[in-house]
Symmetry: C2
Subunit: 415 residues, 2 copies
């Protein structure tokens, strides 16, 4: 008998029928002899409905009250799931973040979990109950309700699983697991049976929205395997685990991408100490978040400084940068408001120098111009024209033979 | 400076516009220099929506989970009202029953308040906040969320006002106050500027739905005046207070009535000790609630036993009574499935024997046959054909010159 934490997202509990379906999945895990703790999100559409109520009242709702309001979404779905289980004579009890004691900091609307009490859950498990917990919410030291921000239910599930020393944290979603790239863009994408925490972190941060990044960090820190799987099938999905436990090592695991980026380059920036800090603080003073940064010292006197921002911030960023260029005596900024980021991720590339050249060659052969490059230990990101993103993903996917990975049983089953 | 508790019902906070309106009323009381604690119900329709969700899941939702579910309704409206006030730079904080510490027993869906903690409220008031509390909900000794049943927000308001030793508990509703009878039935009905607790209790229990009965009991027990007034005007409404404080004493104050009753009479019941208990326990074993009971010993051997039940229980009651009649050897039960109850209420009738005869004469003159009579110290109830209820109310209203009461300023304003 093991302790399993299962998290069901908004689409999984989006209708009465789906709640019944989730109840039968939970029941099944229970009948296999496991103890089960379930974390639920709000029913699909409910959080948006509540946010709209608040915003029709005032454009800037008070953050403390906003959290009280939106946290009701999870309270509704947890009670409904507990009802569905009890109606089947499966004893179940639901609890708010408040009742469990999910302690967070006081950053309303984007709080971070500081500590999770386990007494209430352990007692109910010992009494034979399935425990259902509201995702996405907690309380701060003053007893005020807080929320973790969008996707926070994943974090709740992982934090609970870590605190309870669960065997596995299962994240149920509306896709089969983690793919080599987005299968909606590239039908040849393959489901990965396993992926390492580090790779998953890079995939998450690069726009692959299967798992919330903070939850992957937390799981990695607590040595807790996460299984991403579908609510609507019985397939095992993708296990996110330690590098050491990955059975079939791969050079690269997947391709993440994000659209809606904009690129700004400052060429001929004086090559002086502190100039980068000056540029970045100007941008950040204007409340603009920078995504990628690259710098090349072209000669002794001048350097090129390139960065990307999200497209909605582009006009504001451009104005700030124009001021900076005048001030620094740099040449006019070179800009591209319609670019995309394409990133190749894989723990195998640490020891294989050829990965970057293979990737760039594939893009070159496809006639795609690379406008910016950044790398980390297990990731290479390039910025290219948004129009060529689809072709770029396909070219790199083929170059690394990701489409030739064995078809996993679960995917065959799906088709 | 006084402490005022104000309760706003579901129709008062039913839309975003109305929440703004309530915020301005609260703000106004605050600007008059008072400390304000506000109790809110769920937005109109919201509780029904939640109940429907539960019932589409299972016909008998688990009571613990049902309470968790429906208690979100008040949590939504309290947060919205706090947002509306904060948006006007009026510091306000909302709290759930849980956060305040409204301790109830464990009778889910119809819990009773045992104790109300005041520390959190007092601290927030001292810090200059308007305090908004979710009506209708509390927690039991295990920390589980409970609800007080329909209309429970009135009870929350009165319990808070009593615990905080508030000067007045104001119940805002969609009518101007308490009338001599339902003005929808009788346009001549007059608004009462004052009414005693005892009269209000009789009116509440007899189907005048302005105030929840338990809240009147509680206010009376704690010597707390309640003011029933309209959210949609600035009129003072009706003050429910002690008999001693009523300025203009009246013989009778009002006429309450309820439809949807059914009458069952057992004639010729053996006049033996214990026979009434036997009849009542049979009825109650069938989960039928009895409203009125009257018995007349007609002679030494036999007695008449008459009672009323709600009309929906009539078929079940009839079947039970048929068995009883056979068993007791009583003659066939005499039944009327379509009766109404009309009740005259007034503290003045204690010392005036003529009230009953005046009432019966008025009904007789109107050609209305009285089928059953019960009395209490300040109330006379009769059962009549439902078809003659309107005429009956009008006849009694006129007989006691209730339509001749001075038109209150607030009512003139209304018209």
């Amino acid at each position: 008998m093991a302790l399993i934490v299962q998290k069901f997202g908004g689409s999984s509990v989006g209708t009465i029928e789906r709640i019944h379906h989730v109840a039968s999945k939970v029941m099944h895990t229970r009948q296999e002899g496991h103890e089960v703790v379930v974390v639920v999100s709000a029913m699909q559409g409910e959080t948006d409905r509540l946010i709209q109520l608040a915003q029709s009242l005032t454009p800037e709702p008070h953050p403390r009250e906003y959290d009280i309001l939106v946290s009701t979404g999870e309270q509704v779905s947890m009670a409904l799931l507990a009802m569905a289980l009890n109606a089947q004579n499966i004893p179940a009890r639901s609890f708010t973040g408040h009742q469990i004691g999910i302690l967070t900091d006081s950053s309303h609307t984007k709080a971070r979990i500081l500590n999770v009490k386990t007494e209430t859950i352990k007692k109910s498990l010992a009494d034979g109950f399935i425990v259902i917990v509201a995702g996405f919410q907690g309380i701060n030291e003053h007893g005020d309700i807080t929320t973790l921000g969008r996707g926070g239910s994943d974090t709740t599930a992982v934090a609970l699983a870590a605190a309870l020393k669960a065997e596995e944290c299962q994240i149920y979603t509306d896709v089969e697991g983690v793919y080599t790239t987005d299968p909606r863009m590239l039908p040849e994408a393959r489901l990965l049976p396993q992926i390492s925490f580090e790779e998953m972190l890079e995939m998450s941060s690069l726009g692959a929205k299967v798992l919330q990044m903070r939850s992957v960090e937390l799981a990695s820190k607590h040595n807790l395997p996460i299984r991403v799987r579908s609510t609507f099938s019985d397939n095992p999905g993708t296990l996110v685990t330690f590098e050491e436990k990955i059975m079939q090592k791969r050079l690269v695991s997947g391709i993440a991408f994000s659209r809606e980026e904009a690129l700004i380059a400052l060429t001929g920036v004086p090559n002086q100490a502190g100039v980068e800090g000056h540029i970045l603080s100007k941008i950040s003073d204007a409340s603009i978040e920078i995504d990628m940064i690259a710098q090349n010292a072209t000669d002794k006197e001048a350097t090129d400084f390139t960065f990307t921002v999200s497209r909605k911030d582009y006009p504001k960023a451009l104005a700030t940068v124009q001021e900076l260029a005048d001030e620094l005596g740099a040449v006019s900024p070179r800009c591209n408001p319609k670019v995309a980021k394409l990133s190749l991720v894989g723990i195998g590339m640490r020891s294989h120098a050829g990965v970057a050249s293979n990737m760039f060659r594939a893009l070159g052969n496809a006639g795609i111009n690379i406008q910016m490059i950044t790398t980390s230990e297990i990731k290479i990101s390039v910025v290219i024209d948004e129009d060529s993103l689809d072709r770029g993903v396909r070219a790199v996917h083929e170059a690394f033979e990701l489409d030739k990975l064995p078809l996993e049983k679960q995917q065959a089953f799906m088709e």
